[in-house]
């Protein structure tokens, strides 16, 4: 053992394969520790939190050491947050806000993603043409996605301001509304705005993917279609769209997963008021505002389970060779 470890330390007397393996481990271990500490351990720790009553008062006792102690003593060690079994899960499930936030999340995600896909597809078809300033226009189309979400959300709030908002003024001039509207604090309207905001902010993402895919569709397919007398629209429906099916399904799944779990966009628009309370907003309310960290953890686990279904489909359908 001594002999071996001193050899290892000096790195001499090792064959090439052993030396390489040691180098690989030296590189991988720090990366692994970061990812383990920030992703894997917190997920496990979250399960422990979800069966404890953790409030601001005993937050200091909810240390990872105590969590490990609890696991090893099979829950018999004193001086810990209170074990409550599945109570947090039941409390959360019985909270009427949970079901309504779940429904809001679904409506918000599905319609927002659909809208951004339609816009992204439209934009990609526009830019996928020979035209002047193509690069500049592509760059401009990406702006909403490149700009930080805080900046864009506050621009929208200012544009839609009920008293001074230029959006209200323009909508009145266009005859869409009779008088200025409080877009972000009116039930129904607020969710509508959040969905439009999402379509506006994330269409560039779909635009990029579709554009890349459009460029790789072989020109022969269009030539063959034209020989058969296909019109431009027929070429779109019978050549382009089938070729895009895969990429569209993929971005739908990806965007849906991300939007479903997105906190910032809605929080910055109106803090989840007026019928825009989605599940991620509820996670923050349980923990930071109600100071019920155990219940917040239970809610995260619900979110995780919903998400697991989508991750499963993602790997099943999209990552075939994974």
């Amino acid at each position: 053992m001594d002999d071996k470890s001193s050899k290892l330390r000096k790195g001499k007397g090792l064959n090439k394969k052993q030396r390489e393996q040691r180098l690989a481990l030296t590189i991988i271990i720090p990366i692994f520790l970061i990812v383990f500490g920030i992703v894997i351990f917190p997920v496990l720790y979250n399960f422990w939190l979800s069966v404890q009553e953790v409030t601001l008062g005993n937050l200091g006792q909810a240390t990872p050491i105590n969590a490990l102690k609890w696991v090893f003593t099979l829950g018999n060690s004193g001086d810990l947050p209170k074990f409550v079994g599945l109570k947090n899960f039941i409390t959360v499930a019985q909270d009427p806000r949970f079901l309504s936030a779940f429904a809001t999340s679904l409506i918000y995600s599905i319609s927002g993603v659909t809208l951004s896909i339609l816009l992204g597809l439209y934009a990609a078809l526009l830019v996928h043409r020979r035209m002047p300033a193509r690069r500049a226009i592509r760059g401009i189309f990406l702006l909403p996605y490149i700009a930080p979400v805080v900046a864009t959300a506050f621009i929208w709030r200012w544009v839609l301001n009920p008293v001074y908002g230029v959006g209200n003024w323009l909508a009145v001039q266009a005859g869409l509304i009779a008088e200025p509207v409080a877009w972000l604090s009116t039930r129904g309207l607020a969710l509508f705005v959040a969905i439009i905001f999402q379509g506006w902010r994330y269409f560039p993402f779909i635009f990029l993917f579709v554009l890349a895919r459009l460029q790789s569709i072989p020109e022969d397919l269009y030539e063959a279609a034209r020989m058969d007398g296909a019109s431009t629209f027929q070429q779109f429906f019978y050549v382009t769209l089938p070729q895009l099916k895969g990429v569209l399904a993929t971005v739908f799944l990806l965007r849906f997963m991300w939007i479903f779990n997105k906190f910032g966009d809605i929080y910055l628009l109106n803090k989840g008021a007026a019928g825009t309370e989605v599940l991620p907003i509820l996670v923050r309310q349980y923990s930071i505002e109600m100071e019920q960290f155990g219940q917040g953890a239970a809610l995260s686990i619900y979110l995780f389970l919903i998400l697991a279904v989508f991750i499963f489909f993602y790997f099943r359908w999209v990552m075939e060779e994974w």
Partner: protein, 282 residues
């Protein structure tokens, strides 16, 4: 499908193109134009009704006030520290790690390759509560270092994934030639692999930059002291303290947006690569 005459069809396509460009260009550009002019309007024109579309004079008072009276110089410094540390650590750890995954052998390599994407799929909101409690009990919560750690866990899996798929395409012959010439692995990485991979590394760096610079959720949940705020939290804080100071809020928005737009304009090619490759294979 209705059998349209070629002429009629061309007209419809033409209309769709014109309408499309006008709608996209105005809806994308107008909000940004409105931010720019609102940040520079005087009070009278800022709250004028009907709104003023072309300000009669440019007033940079809001920028001065935001930077020097509302702490945005500090927030900029914090954002710069957090972003640059995240980028540097991500590309150094990411390059070495991706190299190890593609070219070296170690136990658990296969498992690691498979978990990289799975971890990347993990949404931050699921991690935010356990990390909040964890970091509170460890005293790491209200610190920029803790924030960098959290960002690294988000960016490392993507960078490992992107860089290892790039390294796989590089011919191993060159590296082997280097090894035969007496370079060790680290020298091979430094002298051969990295110079050949500059575009991929750039894409990772820019993608990481964008994530760290724009990040809101973790910074918002973890940072309590104003002297540690990053720009996005600073902007949210500014708004919640002065609800009606729209010139200042818009100036803050400009301060956050300008650096990322400049970087995008310079490195557009790499950034687009990073955006697409970072999110999906193929």
């Amino acid at each position: 499908m209705v059998n349209l005459s070629r002429y009629g069809e061309r007209a419809i396509v033409g209309i769709l193109v014109v309408i499309g460009f006008s709608i996209f260009l105005t809806t994308v550009l107008f909000p940004f134009y409105w931010m720019i002019i609102s940040s520079m309007k005087n009070m009278g024109e800022l709250f004028a009704w009907p709104p003023v579309f072309v300000p009669s004079e440019l007033d940079f008072g809001a920028y001065w006030s935001v930077l020097f009276e509302h702490g945005f110089l500090t927030y900029m410094k914090n954002s710069a520290i957090v972003t640059l540390s995240t980028v540097l650590l991500t590309i150094s750890l990411g390059t070495l790690g991706a190299y190890a995954v593609t070219r070296l052998y170690f136990k658990g390599k296969h498992l690691m390759q498979r978990s990289i994407l799975l971890i990347y799929m993990f949404p931050p909101i699921v991690l935010v509560i356990p990390l909040y409690v964890l970091m509170s009990t460890l005293g790491l919560r209200d610190s920029l270092g803790g924030l960098v750690l959290v960002y690294l866990a988000q960016t490392l899996p993507v960078s490992l994934y992107m860089l290892s798929s790039y390294f796989k395409q590089l011919p191993p012959d060159l590296e082997e030639a280097g090894l035969v010439d007496g370079c060790n692995r680290l020298e091979v990485i430094w002298r051969i692999t990295i110079p050949l991979s500059v575009p991929a590394i750039m894409s990772v760096a820019l993608y990481t930059f964008m994530i760290a610079w724009n990040e809101f959720l973790f910074a918002f949940m973890f940072l309590d002291s104003t002297n540690k705020f990053t720009l996005p939290i600073g902007m949210q804080h500014l708004f919640s303290s002065y609800h009606t100071a729209w010139d200042k809020v818009m100036a803050a928005g400009m301060i956050i947006t300008i650096p990322i737009v400049i970087i995008f304009l310079i490195f557009e090619r790499y950034m687009i690569r990073g955006l697409t490759a970072g999110s999906i294979k193929g």
